[in-house]
Symmetry: C2
Subunit: 581 residues, 2 copies
């Protein structure tokens, strides 16, 4: 053993698991253990709830689900001979119906300790207090002579003194296993917080995040180890699986900073369990593994990759082989098609062109050109004969009633029926192409263009759609999405010479108001005082509020902002609140 | 003042409020105060969160909503001169972002105390820990010499000793203001618990529930005052607004049972605030008001009335004047039509007959007969020309592919488009007619028969549909729903000679399995061991599990069972759990 310093080779497994896929998750975990053995890793860690997937939601209320997770934990442990491992799982409590979001501490094939998550998030997309009991004991492991304070996800941000209690007990490394859902910019915020924590507390911080898509959530990965000076020792990839190995060296001089039990009792209410795991480092004489440089992503690249991963995982984990979507010649469907091809490959994406009497010629040719650029199959199903048949049938009832959005919606629903017919006949998943600006204002037809299984752009505002297309075209090095698609004024093409701006403010203005209202929770007054046009603000807020019933029937989509529609924002439909004080 | 006994005239306002309708709720509350004054009521009580409506969900995250609720509380208090009132409202805490589910104690126009709910439900349909901070102080009021222990909803069922602390402080009456959502049988269970509490603790129990529909929830009313011997002193109506006045008489002999402060401190951790409100009873010399006999409801009558109220409130509170629904000649649409007429009146309900090549003649004539019985308008829109046009259009793609559910779904979606066209053109709310058995097994077409704004039967199993029709026909005294509708074998009539039993087990068997699985959370093994057929059990569970994506896009409906689909049962779509241990 090197006496001048203590060394710990940490291997963090940035895993993409599937909720309830115990066997599949187990196989993945086994595979990495072999790699960890080969690399002489001293401590291998897996993300929060890695055994069963995150978030399992109400599956957690099923005792059989909990047993199965425990059975797979045991099975997993049996394969950890000569290894030290920490993994997330669901722990059973002493009382009936008590379960914990927990981390198993495994030493050479034995489950020698358990840490139970203390801070249970119950806001935004999280419902952890619905399921879990709060843990009440901090944990410090000693691995290869290095003291490691273990915690789960939110625990590390707690202001209740958890981390402080671990440090007082001598923790030199703070190890956090996590399942932290993505929104844009979050990885940078998180990294800044980890830097600050490391520098402020003078500890190494190791953050092991989950990666992958689970319904509306995407976990971004970005696992990282930061040293006491805020320098990155190792980092994981963004939006893909990774095994992040970090050589952590603790100077002999740094010494142990544990206070006496007596002092500790005085300075903290937290009971800290200390567990000795492994006295020697297996890698001490092996070559040092250097940090991979952290990759820099643009705002658009980050969001684009989140959408690709979220799409791929939803489709593959739900057992679909192909997707189908309407290609209108507009920019939204173009972006959905490009993302789908990037996620699944060109042979798994089918476009449908469904022109009407109101479709411009360029819409049809643009759809053809895009399909050609992407090399995907394009089916043509004009809706005119059906539209006319609907109008004829309904004329008996409608008589000479004025034409209005009814006739527009009929066209959108004919297209919905076509796309779903292809979906039903061939087992393809239908992808609706609406964006967040439409979803917010109700500028979309229920059972029409909203029809489908997974709404990739549900949380992507229209102005961001343009930026993502520009990013992807620039990455392609040519007009993958034809320039004419980008240039044409947005239109639903459901009546003659229609423009989105007939019904909505220009998207730059609309999206700014939507961000202020939906993401930042600003009031109308606040926005108006900040210089936004009063009529426009009130119009947009009214549209958002009265479209709640539509969103309730919308398919799931990928959360990429701080406030996605869905479980992030739970509003009643029956609601007469006018927004005023 | 009568020295031989103490008297308290309690007036409990069983109110139907609307979330966010501060002005409307305020007007209603004012109106009852006048009546309370006329009746010399000593203490008037309003339900949980009466000021703002329950549950406000994420409106509670909007500080302006909280301010407005406080402003309306002040406005309300200004009108309580010479009255003692308790009402639910949202209280602001000392810390930023801290809010409480609270009860204001109002004495002669002054807000003299506040009780803050302690037990915050966070299971089933409830998310109260997402919003509220937990109170930590029990309250005992003294009104007209009678000591009243005040608490909110779940508090009264707590095993943490809240009620015991109030009784030790001398509480002779336990007053609970509540917003307790309905499921079948709940009022009986609740009443039995209230009886037991009253007898066991030898206190009067006064339970003031909310009434009305709010999205998927119905509050059943059934407010009640039970004396120390478990006798009903007064009770409110079921599923309608009521003002429940009870004369509570406490024998002089019963005395005060408060222990000394010292003993109390020893026996309870709870801090109890004691508030003296009114020394004399205003009604002491007035004639006694006798208890109204409690009305007995059959299982079917109770559920039927819940559905009528839930329907009426959803439609009226959301500002609709009329509804439209497809009348297939089947029993589900017949029941929906009857409920809609009972809720809104015959002039507010429009039926649409949309026969296809597969519709039996009796289906068409039955729809006509039902519409005649109900005296509602019936529109006829045959779908055949559209169906043929779809088949022709799709033949280019489908070629000679085998006919399957695709062609069935196309028909359902043509009907969905027709109903929505009427909805869009005339502003009528579309009512889908599917039942819980279909919703559970996915035996319904997304964007087809699932299309609409409010799914009345979403939580009503098919076998219960039959019972509700029998109940309503028997109440009508004739075959309001024609006997041939009841007699015909269930069929979607989407292909020749189709029967529901081609795809599903008979409904008696299906519904028993669904109850065991969805409501009682039983496992396949458990059901099989209880004697159910293994293949059928596994088939049904598979159907339920794989239909989650459909339910996610279903319209809201009325919860009437212990586990409705929706926020009661939050399952991931992406989910590979096989149900095994």
């Amino acid at each position: 053993m090197d006496t001048s310093s203590r060394r710990l080779r940490l291997g963090m497994v940035q895993l993409d698991v599937t909720v309830g896929d115990f066997a599949g998750n187990h196989r993945k975990m086994q595979r990495v253990l072999r790699e960890a053995r080969r690399l002489n890793v001293d401590l291998v860690t897996f993300p929060e709830l890695a055994i069963c997937g995150y978030p399992p939601e109400d599956l957690l209320l099923n005792p059989r689900f909990i047993y199965k997770n425990l059975r797979y934990l045991v099975k997993f442990i049996q394969n950890t001979v000569n290894m030290n491992v920490v993994t997330g799982f669901v722990d059973y409590g002493e009382e009936e119906d008590e379960i914990y979001n927990a981390a198993a501490i495994i030493y050479c094939g034995r489950h020698i300790g358990t840490y139970r998550k203390i801070i249970l998030p119950n806001y935004g997309v999280f419902d952890e207090k619905r399921y879990f009991t709060r843990g009440d004991e901090c944990t410090v492991l000693e691995v290869c002579g290095v003291k490691v304070g273990l915690n789960i996800c939110e625990d590390i941000w707690s202001e209740e003194g958890l981390v402080e209690a671990q440090i007082r007990e001598g923790a030199e490394v703070l190890l956090n296993i996590s399942a932290s859902p993505y929104h844009y910019g979050k990885s940078k915020e998180r990294l800044a917080q980890l830097f600050e924590l490391a520098r402020k507390k003078k500890v190494v911080v190791a953050y092991n995040n989950m990666v992958g898509g689970q319904d509306e959530l995407v976990f971004d990965g970005n696992s990282v180890v930061v040293d006491q000076r805020g320098k990155i020792i190792a980092c994981g990839k963004q939006f893909s699986e990774d095994f992040v190995v970090a050589d952590i060296v603790i100077d002999a001089a740094s010494g142990r900073r544990a206070q006496s039990k007596k002092d500790l009792a005085k300075s903290s209410d937290w009971f800290v369990q200390s567990i000795g795991v492994a006295p020697f480092s297996g890698y001490a004489d092996k070559p040092h593994i250097d940090a991979r440089p952290m990759q820099e992503y643009s705002h658009e690249a980050e969001i684009y990759d989140a959408l690709v991963l979220g799409t791929r995982d939803y489709i593959e984990k739900n057992g679909f082989k192909k997707v189908v979507l309407g290609l209108s010649g507009g920019i939204d469907s173009a972006l959905v098609a490009v993302i789908a091809v990037d996620a699944l490959g060109k042979n798994s994406v089918v476009g449908v062109s469904m022109p009407s009497r109101y479709s411009s010629e360029s819409s049809v040719t643009d759809a053809v050109l895009l399909a050609k650029n992407l090399d995907i199959k394009l089916i043509s199903l004009p809706i005119e004969p059906l539209f006319q048949t609907y109008l004829d049938a309904l004329s008996v009832v409608f008589g000479d009633a004025k034409t209005d959005t009814t006739e527009e919606n009929i066209q959108a629903r004919i297209r919905g029926n076509f796309v779903m017919a292809l979906s039903n006949k061939y087992g393809w998943l239908a992808l609706p192409t609406g964006n967040k600006s439409e979803m917010a204002t109700g500028y979309a037809t229920l059972y029409g263009d909203m029809a489908g299984g997974f709404a990739i752009l549900k949380d992507v505002p229209k102005t961001l759609v343009y930026k993502l297309v520009a990013y992807r075209n620039s990455k392609a090095g040519y007009d993958l999405v034809p320039q004419s698609v980008i240039d044409k004024p947005p239109s639903a093409e459901l009546r003659a010479n229609q423009r989105d701006t007939d019904s909505l403010p220009p998207y730059e203005i609309l999206d700014a108001i939507l961000k202020a209202y939906v993401e930042d929770g600003q009031s109308a007054i606040g926005m108006i005082e900040a210089g936004m046009d009063e009529n426009t603000v009130r119009q947009v807020i009214r549209l958002v509020d009265k479209s709640e019933y539509k969103r309730r029937q919308a398919p799931p989509g990928i959360k990429i902002t701080t406030h996605a529609f869905g479980r992030d924002r739970r509003l009643p439909i029956t609601n007469k609140y006018d927004g005023k004080i």
